[in-house]
């Protein structure tokens, strides 16, 4: 029992036969071997699996691959520029020590980019509230919040 699923991932058309019950995150990790998107829980709380589907941040562990059929997916692997330079949000996390073990980081960064797209000049309070779909166990959030504020500024400067 399988279905054919096709979508565009980081600008590339991909297609595969997978079991119906394949989650989008499993499609990315197992089928496409794109392991940058992580799984940190099984109740859609932690946000480590956050990717962009059709321009909006979603939790890829909580939708089926088939729900993304025909969609445009961006993962952490597709965020940096083609020339290898980091996206302003990735660079802000680096400059501000916004990551330690790095496991929540891909989801955190993807979520932060989406946050800033929808709330271009977030206050600290807004950042803290709007990042409640992402859990980090290492950083205590202090530097993540700083990084997102800095990332917002530099995304505004480099649209």
């Amino acid at each position: 029992m399988s279905v054919k699923v096709s979508m565009n991932v980081n600008g590339k058309a991909v297609s595969a036969e997978v079991p119906e019950r394949t989650l989008l995150v499993s499609f990315l990790r197992e089928t496409l071997n794109m392991t940058g998107t992580h799984v940190g829980c099984d109740t859609a709380q932690c946000g480590a699996c956050t990717i962009h589907l059709n321009g909006r941040a979603i939790k890829s562990c909580n939708i089926l691959a088939m729900q993304a059929e025909g969609g445009n997916v961006t993962t952490i692997e597709g965020l940096a520029n083609a020339d290898g330079t980091l996206h302003p949000m990735q660079e802000a996390f680096r400059q501000n020590h916004g990551l330690q073990c790095g496991f929540c980081t891909p989801g955190m960064v993807m979520s932060a980019v989406d946050l800033v797209k929808n709330t271009p000049k977030p206050t600290e309070e807004q950042i803290r509230e709007l990042m409640d779909g992402n859990i980090c166990r290492c950083t205590g959030y202090h530097n993540i919040v700083k990084a997102i504020a800095a990332g917002a500024t530099s995304m505004a400067a480099n649209p």
Binding site: M1, V3, P19, E20, R21, L23, D42, T43, A44, Q45, G47, T50, L53, R56, A57, I58, K59, C61, N62, I63, L64, M66, Q67, E69, S111, D114, L115, N118, L130, D132, G133, N134
Partner: protein
């Protein structure tokens, strides 16, 4: 997750036909609760019929006296809608408090109310704003729609098309979140319809409910002090490790006052 068959419906009629073919089929309307339950093997549908591609179910329409939201409209869309924010800001605000940003980008109003989680936010909006739920078969008032924990008036084969909210003079929703799940421990929506008022409570009981005594007091005078001394009996409310029933009962009164105050500002 158990095995299931998957179908993408292109229209409501196609979804309806799919449901007819398979009695254990379920509609997939974003899936933010359903997929989570299936992952934990708590739900075992034989087939999923995905409504995600049905464009006619994604719309927002503001008319005189009502705001109508298509069943497959995401929470994020409602929260960000300039029309909704203008006509019924409490609804936009409530939609913006559901789950987290990622969940709001995928979860839909139809999915939420069909699931009728006792701690979900939209049932409070429906009940508190005197909503009418339109299905492929009929129109159901919110008062008749919610039947207690995870149960609704929907028949087999019935598909939610849209939800119409009555626009009150003013309204507000205040949510006291579970620190772990971020669902409502208690959520209170108050609405002032001039000669009448509505108070709907989610999270506190086995399903969303109204508080007649508060509604009466608010109809007489829509002010926080009108509900300040109205105690809600703890009996029948949820008691769990996140909140005992008496704490929930107390919170209802506190949140109702705050919601009224918020509606007035």
């Amino acid at each position: 997750m158990y095995q299931f068959k998957f179908q993408k419906a292109k229209s409501v009629a196609e979804a309806f036909a799919g449901l007819g073919k398979d009695g254990d089929a379920k509609l997939l309307a974003g899936g933010q609760s359903l997929i989570a339950a299936m992952k934990l093997r708590l739900s075992q549908p034989s087939a999923l019929i995905d409504l995600g591609d049905i464009a006619e179910l994604r719309h927002i329409k503001v008319e005189t006296g009502t705001v109508t939201i298509g069943a497959m409209t995401t929470h994020a869309t409602v929260a960000a809608s300039a029309e909704v924010k203008k006509a019924l800001p409490a609804l936009a605000m409530l939609a913006g408090s559901i789950g987290d940003r990622q969940v709001r980008n995928q979860g839909t109003i139809g999915g939420s109310i069909a699931n009728n989680d006792p701690a979900a936010d939209y049932p409070a909006a429906c009940l508190g704003l005197g909503a009418t739920i339109s299905t492929n078969k009929r129109k159901i008032s919110a008062d008749a729609f919610f039947k207690g924990m995870y149960e609704t008036a929907l028949d087999a084969g019935e598909i939610i098309i849209s939800v119409s909210f009555a626009i009150p003079k003013r309204a507000a929703y205040v949510k006291f979140k579970n620190p772990a799940s971020r669902f409502a421990i208690v959520g209170v929506l108050v609405a002032d319809f001039g000669s009448s008022a509505r108070v709907a409570v989610t999270g506190a009981g086995p399903g969303v409910f109204r508080i007649a005594e508060m509604e009466k007091a608010l109809a007489a005078k829509f002010a926080p002090e009108s509900v300040a001394n109205i105690k809600v009996p703890a009996e029948g409310l949820n008691s769990d490790l996140h909140a005992q029933a008496d704490y929930r009962a107390h919170l209802i009164t506190v949140l109702a006052q705050r919601a009224v105050a918020a509606a007035l500002t």
